[in-house]
């Protein structure tokens, strides 16, 4: 059987150039489907990576109880003092607990592409920033100094907004701030932010409550005891979460929406592509009905004939899938996009065309190819031989 299958398939593929028009329909149709699918899912994947992959299991974020996001939360100095005395917090080089009390607010900065103002998150951070967030690296310029209006800009923010390179001066809230450096932090959400000294930020917006406290624990295993101590303390009303869970919850809605959109649009397009494939394969079979009938008359079985048609459809679909994935990768991989995050400030993320996505695209392509080739293949196998030969 396989010898027959091989022979017919080779013959089909050799005559493919004659049917360029119909064949290219399948390829192009599927290229479109896969390109769109992979691109939209890459947005979801990129956003998810930026948010949900942010954070470490041994770092906890503490908010006021009942607030679902930092922007809504308010912790007092007393709250922070109580928190820093809880068990399980790692100690810094100076023996003091590694806690960063933070204030989250927004600033208006013009966007690079439109020139109109958009909100960027300005995060005031405590002195222990470097030890609490070891993944943070200054890649240009230097760290800001406390008690003065200096800030560092995340690499993502630099890509989306004007005037954030090291050494520039940013005019925010009627005061000038010096951008002393640019930082990266493993591509997480903080790369969309501007970081400065917490007390300077606080006095600049006339606010003396903190948004959150970030704590580096001795180990991931220390979390349950730490959380328990805080939740049972009568002086506090707080929510305690591991960072990854907190960010995952933040990204849930948009990632979910993007995934739904991507899959819905792709399904619809796939149905359309399938009709195109059906058309092309039916006409391919009709065009070669005499050859197929001759093969059958010679003695080739119905099954090899049928499989050969499906293989042809599959090969074309595969080509389309690879092309579509390649196009998505070429145009959009690494492309920086920003959208509104939880604090009504821009969150920058990069479209990430991952290997998984490309494989997903190819699987879709093959599915369309198989479905589109099945019925025409069936017809080819069932062709009434004598009739077809007589027609020639």
């Amino acid at each position: 059987m396989f010898k027959q299958l091989f022979a017919i398939t080779i013959m089909n593929l050799q005559t493919l150039p004659q049917r360029l028009g119909a064949s290219s329909v399948i390829v192009i149709g599927i290229t479109g489907v896969v390109a769109v699918l992979v691109s939209v899912l890459a947005m979801a994947a990129g956003f998810h990576h930026t948010l949900a992959d942010s954070g470490r299991a041994d770092r906890a974020i503490i908010l006021r109880g009942g607030s679902d996001a930092e922007i809504n939360s308010g912790l007092t100095r007393e709250d922070v003092d109580v928190i820093s005395s809880a068990p399980g917090i790692a100690k810094g080089a100076d023996g003091k607990p590694l806690i960063s009390n933070e204030i989250v607010t927004v600033a208006n900065v013009p966007k690079l592409d439109t020139g109109t103002d958009a909100n960027v998150t300005l995060r005031g951070v405590g002195l222990k920033l470097v030890e609490v967030r070891p993944e943070l690296k200054i890649v240009a310029g230097r760290m800001f100094r406390p008690a003065v209006r200096e800030l560092i800009a995340g690499a993502g923010a630099v890509k989306q907004f004007r005037g954030l390179s090291a050494g520039s001066v940013l005019h925010m809230r009627n005061a000038d701030w010096l951008v002393t450096g640019v930082f990266t932090s493993d591509g997480d959400i903080h790369e969309s932010e501007l970081l400065a000294d917490v007390d300077t930020v606080g006095s600049s917006i006339e606010r003396d409550v903190y948004s959150s406290a970030i704590v580096l624990l001795e180990s991931p295993a220390a979390f349950p005891a730490f959380k328990d101590a805080l939740m049972t303390d009568p002086r506090l009303k707080v929510d305690v979460e591991r960072e990854p869970e907190y960010f995952a919850a933040q990204s849930k809605d948009l990632t979910h929406t993007l995934n739904i959109i991507g899959n819905s649009v792709a399904i619809i397009m796939a149905i359309g592509a399938m009709f195109g494939a059906l058309n092309s394969m039916y006409s391919a079979v009709a065009a070669r009905s005499v050859e197929i009938a001759t093969l059958r008359a010679i003695g080739f079985g119905g099954l090899p004939v049928m499989l050969s048609v499906m293989i042809e459809s599959l090969v074309l679909a595969l080509l389309g899938g690879i092309l579509g994935g390649a196009l998505a990768w070429l145009f959009f991989n690494g492309h920086s996009v920003s959208t509104l995050g939880a604090a009504f400030a821009q969150v920058v993320f990069q479209l990430t065309v991952t290997r998984t996505l490309i494989v997903t695209g190819i699987v879709w392509a093959c599915l369309i190819g198989v479905l589109g080739g099945f019925f025409p293949a069936l017809r080819a196998a069932r062709l009434p031989v004598a009739e077809a030969l007589r027609a020639s």
Partner: protein, 387 residues
């Protein structure tokens, strides 16, 4: 037209092929309708018929920051302003975070005077609302959604405002309902839950005396820009600088921050129609190629070259037009599904109109090459089988 039976019969020469091509076109236009509707909705935020002379004043740096209550008097005295009212974002939901409710603390007098004529309510219920400190006037659709009745006590959770007792759960007594006069505004107001600003301001444990944003009505819509500038000038260089703009611009600026939605949607549509072009073009070319002898016969009967060109074009128009009609109709039927995903956004069937233009363009692009082929064919050669 008298040629219709001929064109229609020609279209269905190869039934399965025509059906598949037609279905592909239907699907493409279904997507077109759906995506264009979403794009249109975002590009034309509905601020209603009364929205033309509505302004919104927020803290210049972010809507998450507040403004002092004392600003109200100054804004009221700005020439051109006929009414001012104020709000604060409550961040409310009912029982679970997914049950978002637009819980709105209002100053009753200024709110209803600014929105005169926009709402429909029972006068007795309204008076009760006025006199009940923790009373709530609820949008009729919201009442229906949660099955509330007048006299019910409900709790609303705020994600931001703790009360003096430390709780984020606020308690209200539903004393009345209201509806919107303008039916096109229904969706916008469908989750609104109105209550007293005093109850809010006195009950919250921080932020007292502050306001989230102001809303103003101007006498003359054409003066919006000038009045906005005057209001902002009042507070420039203070610690609470403002940004005032017409309600529609505010909505658009907000949407802009979501990202370039239009670009994404149109990029997807571009990909869809490019592939459709290929598919339909191939079908038309194939179909005409098969029909060359028949087209030659038509010419022998006396149909001119131009007649034959017209017949092929008409066929393309019929195919694309039919597919477009079915696809756009399907997307119109899918509006309720789209509404589910985009709550509070007014969707308009107007977005579908460009679809017909697209259908004609598509027909011309896929129909012209085979039509020209048909026009140019030589009768003698075609009949002799050499083509």
């Amino acid at each position: 037209m008298k040629y219709f039976p001929l064109i229609w019969a020609t279209l269905w020469r190869k039934k399965t092929r025509t059906i598949f091509t037609l279905l592909s076109i239907v699907i493409a236009f279904l997507l077109f309708g759906a995506l264009e509707t979403v794009d249109y909705a975002f590009a034309h935020p509905n601020t209603g018929t009364s929205g033309a002379n509505l302004l919104i004043t927020i803290n210049k740096y972010s809507i998450t920051l507040s403004l002092p209550f004392s600003d109200e008097q100054q804004i009221r005295s700005v020439p051109g302003v006929t009414a001012v009212t104020w709000f604060t974002w409550f961040g409310g939901y009912y029982q679970e975070p997914k049950n978002f409710v637009f819980v709105l603390p209002i100053d009753i007098d200024s709110y209803f005077s600014l929105h005169q004529g926009d709402f429909v309510y029972d006068e007795t219920q309204f008076q009760t609302f006025r006199n009940t400190r923790d009373g709530a006037l609820v949008n009729a659709q919201l009442m229906k959604k949660h099955g509330w009745k007048i006299g019910d006590r409900v709790g609303m959770h705020s994600t931001i405002w703790t009360q003096k007792n430390g709780s984020l759960d606020w308690n209200f007594l539903i004393v009345g309902t209201y509806d919107v006069s303008d039916p096109t505004q229904r969706n916008q107001q469908a989750s609104t839950f109105l209550f007293h600003y005093e109850y809010f301001d006195e009950g919250r444990s921080f932020g007292k005396g502050n306001v989230g944003w102001y809303q103003e009505r101007v006498a003359d819509a054409s003066q919006s820009a000038a009045v906005s500038a005057r209001i902002d000038a009042l507070f420039a260089n203070s610690s609470y600088e403002t940004k005032t703009q017409p309600a529609k611009d505010f909505a658009l600026a907000f949407i802009k921050q979501l990202g370039d939605i239009g670009f994404i949607l149109h990029a997807i549509l571009g990909a869809v129609f490019f592939t459709l072009l290929f598919l339909t073009g191939n079908t038309m070319m194939q179909s005409v190629r098969e029909r060359i002898p028949e087209l030659a016969v038509l010419k022998t009967l006396g149909f001119t070259d131009g007649d034959v060109l017209g017949l092929v074009l008409a066929e393309a128009l019929l195919l694309c037009g039919l597919g477009a009609l079915l696809g756009l109709a399907a997307s119109y039927g899918a509006l309720p599904i789209i509404r589910l995903g985009l709550q509070g956004v007014e969707l308009s069937p107007l977005a579908l109109l460009p679809g017909f233009g697209v259908a004609i363009l598509l027909a011309l692009i896929v129909g012209l090459p085979p039509a020209l082929r048909a026009k140019r064919l030589n009768i003698v050669d075609a009949l002799a089988g050499k083509h």
